[in-house]
């Protein structure tokens, strides 16, 4: 590397760092999470080993033998040296000796039986029930309900039971409570009906919002172009407000507007229509408002882009079209629109990508409702991974949702790059003289 390239890299370093940190890392992490079963219950760090009744029950029938099952469930209690040593330590050696002489080597199926055996003590009574229970636990030979921090500890405990060695591996894997690698998320995604529903919602959302954005942005740009300058810039400023307003405030205004005691309900109330929440009343209403809320934000960007593109058209060209006999409409149709081709394509592609991944305005307005009518893919990812009503946040599944978007986004960007030939787009002025 010569000095010049080194210098170049030096200057680029901060940018590269930012790219790696804020672009590459999230993508890599998304891929990583998408192939794990991480959730609130597994944690994200790795986990303990635990068997209990419910885990045992969830183990498929043929994964372990019935004998293993019985052994684990009915391991019960045994008055053995190990337990007696512990008893001697926690209560007193005398108690231990007495129990050995009474029940040494005896087996009991349940804790109750074990406790009853402890009641047999005469010289060294254990008086409180609590102490007796604690003492009974000392003789528990079952590994159920015990948490083991490492696999080795769990396997050692297993070895101390009569469980057949052949089932040890299977039990170890079922006992693991932490996250593990899996492709289940993807399979689940493609098998869920709701996924297809969300995909369809997303397509609808992107298509409608995009159409509104570009169409309305164009309309605003062209109509303000023909207005006197002062009026035009006032209009443009007004239409730019949604974009500079904080989303929470902006959506709150829409909510006020559509609440059942809001502006719309009050106005329609005069017409004798029963007050209702106009935004969440029906799925159609929700869609209308989702598109309007997002569209007004997007349209302002389109308007600015298109306006400046129109201003870049030399006035003499517009004059020429007028003396050539073109009406306003023909001027728009034949002179202005063709020259907006690149801005329109750019806005369309850019907004497709950003709409695919954006959900904040939907989250703030309908939250995907009513029902799941306006739940789009990105919102589903958010709900699954970060805001689940059930309380169990499924990071892995959520990341799988997100991964699909990442893949679509990358493919779309590559297609755009090819299709628009961005190199040509930036190297040549689009308005040729």
């Amino acid at each position: 590397m010569n000095r010049r390239t080194a210098l170049g890299f030096g200057f680029l370093a901060p940018a590269l760092l930012v790219v790696i940190l804020f672009f590459l890392a999230p993508v890599v992490l998304t891929v990583f999470f998408a192939f794990t079963n991480m959730s609130t219950s597994t944690g994200i760090r790795g986990g303990e080993y635990l068997l209990n009744q419910s885990i045992l029950r969830s183990i498929p029938e043929d994964a372990i033998s019935t004998e293993t099952r019985n052994t684990l469930e009915n391991a019960g209690y045994q008055v053995n040296d190990q337990g007696l040593a512990k008893l001697a330590e926690t209560v007193s050696p005398a108690t231990a000796d007495e129990l050995r002489s009474l029940h040494g080597g005896a087996r009991f199926d349940s804790r109750r039986d074990m406790e009853r055996a402890l009641k047999d003590l005469r010289e060294n009574r254990i008086r409180s029930t609590r102490d007796r229970k604690a003492a009974a636990d000392l003789f528990n030979t079952s590994i159920l309900n015990t948490r083991y921090n490492t696999e080795d500890a769990f396997r050692a405990a297993l070895a101390g039971t009569n469980v057949p060695v052949g089932d040890h591996d299977a039990l170890t894997s079922f006992a693991y409570t932490g996250w593990s690698w899996t492709t289940e998320n993807m399979k689940l995604l493609f098998s869920l009906d709701s996924s297809y529903r969300y995909a369809a919602n997303t397509a609808l959302y992107v298509a409608l919002t995009l159409a509104f954005n570009v169409g309305f942005g164009l309309f605003l740009a062209i109509s303000t172009f023909y207005l006197p300058p002062v009026l035009a810039s006032t209009f443009r400023t007004i239409w730019f407000l949604p974009r500079i307003l904080p989303p929470v405030l902006y959506v709150l205004m829409w909510k006020w507007f559509t609440w059942d005691t809001g502006f719309l309900a009050t106005m329609t109330g005069y017409l004798g229509i029963a007050p209702r929440n106009w935004m969440l009343d029906t799925a159609t209403n929700a869609w209308v408002f989702v598109v309007l809320i997002n569209g007004c934000v997007g349209a302002s960007l389109g308007m600015i882009l298109f306006s400046s593109a129109i201003k870049a058209i030399p006035t003499s060209m517009l004059y020429a079209s007028e003396v050539d006999g073109a009406s306003r409409w023909q001027q728009v149709r034949y002179i202005i629109l063709p020259q907006l081709r690149w801005p329109i394509l750019f806005t369309t592609s850019y907004q497709t990508l950003s709409l695919l991944t954006s959900f904040e305005y939907i989250l703030l307005s309908t939250e995907g409702g009513p029902g799941r009518a306006t739940e789009v893919w990105a919102l589903a990812a958010y709900h699954t991974a970060l805001s689940n009503y059930g309380g169990n946040l499924q990071y892995g599944l959520g990341a799988a949702y997100a991964l699909i978007l990442v893949v679509i986004g990358i493919i779309a960007s590559l297609l755009y790059l090819r299709f628009f030939n961005f190199k040509e787009l930036v190297s040549k002025p689009r308005i040729e003289q």
Binding site: Y319, E322, V323, D324, A326, S327, Y334, P338, I431, E432
Partner: protein
């Protein structure tokens, strides 16, 4: 078609750019609007084609009052300084545009486009895009587009300003040829007097939103209405010399010349004389003495600046091959018959 502007007034806000201008262009005539930058030539042109609205006065094309018609309805062809071709259309579509917006059928459009392309000599360029043409070719396309729907008037706003010197010469005669062939009434806006003189039947010389003189080029050159006109026309330009009248001679800073017969008795005692460079030189005798302070060789001719004792400079143009050099003291004569006399306020005497 005859164009008649009557009492045309144009204001931009407070600023009155054109004040009660009158101009008549006869049918089939080509007229030049000539004047310094900012005098209102483009404004006048844009008003005739309807891009600007008049603030006062009237405009007639033939018998038709078009004062209040939008430009779409005026049937004018305009060639803009930057040609204003539509970059996204092929040359064919550019030329066809005025017909297309009138919804003529495709066959007619194709035929007319081919005809006009033939006229302006660009039939082989029709399938290209404007960006693929040279300046001169774009110029021809702009002309074709302006002419294709047989407009009543053709307006040209500095059509040659963006061309290089050689192309400018070529397009000068081309535009004139096409105008004569089509017989169209045309107005050419220019600030180049040579363009105006060589291409047009008459010149309207403008200054500060008014027409100072409207005349045939040679007439305007020989008989300027005032000092401004005399100074504007001619290259190299006319020289002005302060003079006083003593008896029947003009006394200049360094010399004397006789008062010509046509001026005799009509001149005030103090005045300014306009001497064109071709009327000052050794062939007219001697009497005006000075020093050669500048020599410019132009090939066929040489240009000399002669500085008189009082600092006044008189230009002279001479056939080349003479032996005058920078710094020479000379005493040359002036052709008194062709001296122009102006009063102190610039009026022609």
């Amino acid at each position: 078609m005859r164009i008649e502007l009557k009492n045309f007034t144009k204001t931009f806000g407070e600023l009155t750019v054109i004040d009660r201008l009158n101009l008549t262009v006869e049918s089939g005539e080509m007229i030049a609007l000539l004047g310094p930058s900012g005098c209102g030539k483009s404004t006048t042109l844009f008003t005739i084609c309807g891009i600007h609205r008049m603030n006062g006065g009237s405009l007639h094309f033939g018998d038709r009052d078009v004062s209040d018609l939008p430009s779409q309805k005026r049937n004018v062809g305009v060639v803009f300084q930057n040609y204003a071709l539509y970059p996204h259309m092929s040359i064919r579509d550019n030329i066809a545009f005025p017909l297309k917006v009138q919804k003529e059928d495709a066959a007619t459009i194709a035929r007319k486009v081919d005809e006009i392309a033939e006229l302006v000599h660009i039939p082989e360029l029709l399938e290209r895009k404007p960006a693929q043409l040279s300046g001169g070719q774009q110029q021809r396309v702009a002309l074709a587009r302006a002419l294709v729907r047989k407009p009543d008037v053709l307006l040209l706003d500095e059509p040659l300003a963006n061309l290089d010197a050689k192309l400018r010469l070529e397009m000068r005669s081309e535009i004139r040829r096409i105008q004569l062939e089509t017989g169209i009434t045309a107005i050419l806006v220019t600030h180049d007097q040579i363009e105006a003189m060589s291409m047009c039947d008459r010149i309207a010389l403008m200054k500060g939103g008014k027409i100072v003189q409207l005349d045939k080029p040679d007439e305007m050159y020989a008989n300027p209405a005032d000092q401004f006109v005399a100074g504007f026309l001619g290259n190299p330009p006319i020289s002005f010399v302060d003079a006083s009248v003593v008896g029947d001679t003009f006394v200049l800073g360094a010399g004397e010349i006789a008062v010509s017969a046509n001026l005799m008795g009509r001149v005030p005692s103090q005045l300014q004389l306009g001497v064109r460079p071709e009327y000052f030189g050794p062939q007219f005798g001697s009497g005006v003495a000075g020093k050669i302070t500048f020599v410019e060789t132009q090939g066929r001719e040489n240009l000399y600046d002669v500085t008189l004792q009082n600092g006044t400079v008189i230009r002279s143009i001479q056939p080349s091959g003479q032996s005058f050099a920078l710094g020479d003291q000379v005493s040359w004569g002036i052709d008194t018959d062709n001296v122009l006399a102006f009063s102190a306020n610039g009026d022609r005497i």
